[in-house]
């Protein structure tokens, strides 16, 4: 049931990734200040946006699970958070590389988006020990959904808090992704967001299908086992 549409999504994701990479390297202009290294922006920022949306989506799937009692929603919540954490690792690594190349430091505490992303990432890392230390499957699903909801609500509050802490010491006139981007850059950036979103959806569907298949397999095994023993 989860595998529907996975092939078109995979093809679209591959095509869009190729197109956006071509745009990044051959179409988008070089940044006047930072030069070539600025192109990591086209990977870093879309990954961060999609990962955060994935965390929030995990919370919404958690609400759906608690409202309906259908464990399929919990599986969606888990997979959304799982893939967002993987994307989150990539965000932190690309962010550190960008910071090193552009400002000479691996980590900058006065970059509010990066700092709040780290806090959110640390919180979501607890999802695994929480989820896998509960054995009863029903309880595991419910507890994970409760965590996903609380953490999903935490994401925007945390961003507001960290940004407020920075706003007083470093007033920011324009954000990094702000409206001052020239047209070619903006087009490339949007193409990159679409590509990363398609990649997320494809991985999401793939992981759900795999989880579903292995659950089905172990169900069938259990059904067959008494016969084999008898």
């Amino acid at each position: 049931m989860f595998s529907r549409g996975i092939k078109p999504f995979a093809i679209a994701a591959a095509a869009m990734t190729a197109i956006s990479l071509a745009l990044v390297f051959f179409y988008a202009p070089l940044d006047a200040d930072q030069g070539f290294i600025q192109k990591i922006f086209y990977v870093h920022v879309p990954l961060a946006i999609v990962a955060l949306l994935g965390f929030v989506a995990g919370g919404i799937f958690g609400v759906m699970h608690l409202r309906s009692g259908d464990r399929a929603w919990d599986a969606r919540s888990y997979v959304a958070i799982h893939i967002s954490i993987i994307f989150g690792c990539a965000v932190l690594v690309t962010g550190a590389i960008w910071a090193k190349a552009a400002w000479g430091h691996w980590w900058l505490w006065d970059e509010p988006v990066l700092v709040s992303f780290l806090v959110v990432f640390l919180l979501y890392c607890v999802y695994y020990p929480l989820r896998f230390s509960i054995e009863d499957p029903d309880r595991q699903a419910r507890y994970s959904s409760v965590f996903a909801i609380a953490a999903g609500a935490f994401v925007p509050i945390n961003f507001a808090a960290v940004r407020m802490a920075e706003a007083f010491t470093h007033p920011r006139v324009l954000s990094q992704t702000g409206g001052s981007m020239p047209g070619e850059m903006r087009l490339t950036f949007i193409a990159c967001i679409v590509a990363v979103t398609l990649l997320f959806v494809t991985l999401f569907k793939l992981e759900l299908t795999a989880k579903n298949a292995s659950a089905q397999l172990s169900r069938l095994r259990r059904a067959l086992e008494p016969e084999a023993a008898a």
Partner: protein, 255 residues
């Protein structure tokens, strides 16, 4: 904090369909607040007799102040350093309280008795949050005095009224989220690991607001410039997590 969560909880719990055990509650069942008061009285009686959480948390804060004295190699602190040391210590002490909050329920099976009682489950969250709030307040009275004597450079008294307001706002937030985290972790195998790992990132916004608002107070001068904005952030955090915790808590206990 209590009025809102109690009122909109009553109809939701009773009207939830197809959950045997919670729907057929007798008409004479006690209200959420009466139940919460009873559970809170029980928790406070246990705490008064065993003296488990509050003395441990208080001792912990004083020990951490001593550690900071040696770690920073400073006899007196002021400004941002004093504010940071104070708030980090208080939040770390809160971790101890949170991890002990469901201890009797978990270790001695008290949770079964609470679940068998035909009462609103949100009352349990309310009672645990209220207990944690009282523990934190008690700890902070001693911890502030110890901090003023041991480490703080400038005089604490002029800063005290605003600091009390900040402590109130932070305690509400920590109590709301702490009771939820404690219940989440109580059923896991590694609960003593899960509580700090989950609680500490969740209280980062509280720390940011409280430490930034306290910093000018502990510098000696009375420039509380951005106080309103930080209190606004604390209030927003409190409201959001009180509502969320009250809404999702009973799903943790539906068995």
């Amino acid at each position: 904090m209590t009025a809102g969560s109690g009122q909109d909880d009553e109809p939701r719990t009773t009207s939830r369909p197809a959950r045997p055990g919670t729907g057929d509650r007798p008409a004479s069942a006690p209200s959420t607040f009466a139940t919460a008061r009873a559970i809170l009285r029980k928790d406070l009686a246990i705490e008064l007799r065993t003296k488990e959480s509050v003395p441990a948390m208080t001792l912990f804060t004083v020990t951490v102040f001593v550690l900071f004295h040696f770690g920073l190699d400073r006899d007196t602190l002021e400004g941002d350093l004093a504010s940071g040391v104070l708030w980090v210590t208080l939040l770390l002490a809160a971790v101890i309280g949170v991890s002990r909050l469901f201890a009797t329920e978990r270790e001695q099976g008290g949770i079964d008795g609470l679940l068998l009682a035909p009462v609103d489950r949100t009352a349990l969250w309310l009672a645990k949050a209220a207990a944690l709030f009282l523990y934190l307040t008690a700890v902070e009275v001693v911890a502030l005095a110890a901090f003023a004597i041991l480490l703080l450079g400038p005089d604490l008294l002029p800063a005290l009224p605003v600091l009390a307001l900040l402590l109130l706002a932070v305690n509400i937030g920590v109590a709301a989220i702490g009771a939820l985290v404690s219940a989440l972790a109580a059923e896991t195998r590694a609960h003593e690991l899960i509580v700090p790992l989950m609680l500490l990132p969740l209280v980062v916004p509280l720390l940011i607001a409280a430490a930034s608002a306290t910093e000018p107070l502990l510098r000696g001068d009375q420039g509380a410039e951005d106080l309103v904005r930080w209190l606004g952030l604390l209030t927003l955090y409190d409201v959001v997590f009180v509502l969320i915790a009250a809404a999702v808590f009973d799903f943790l206990l539906d068995d």
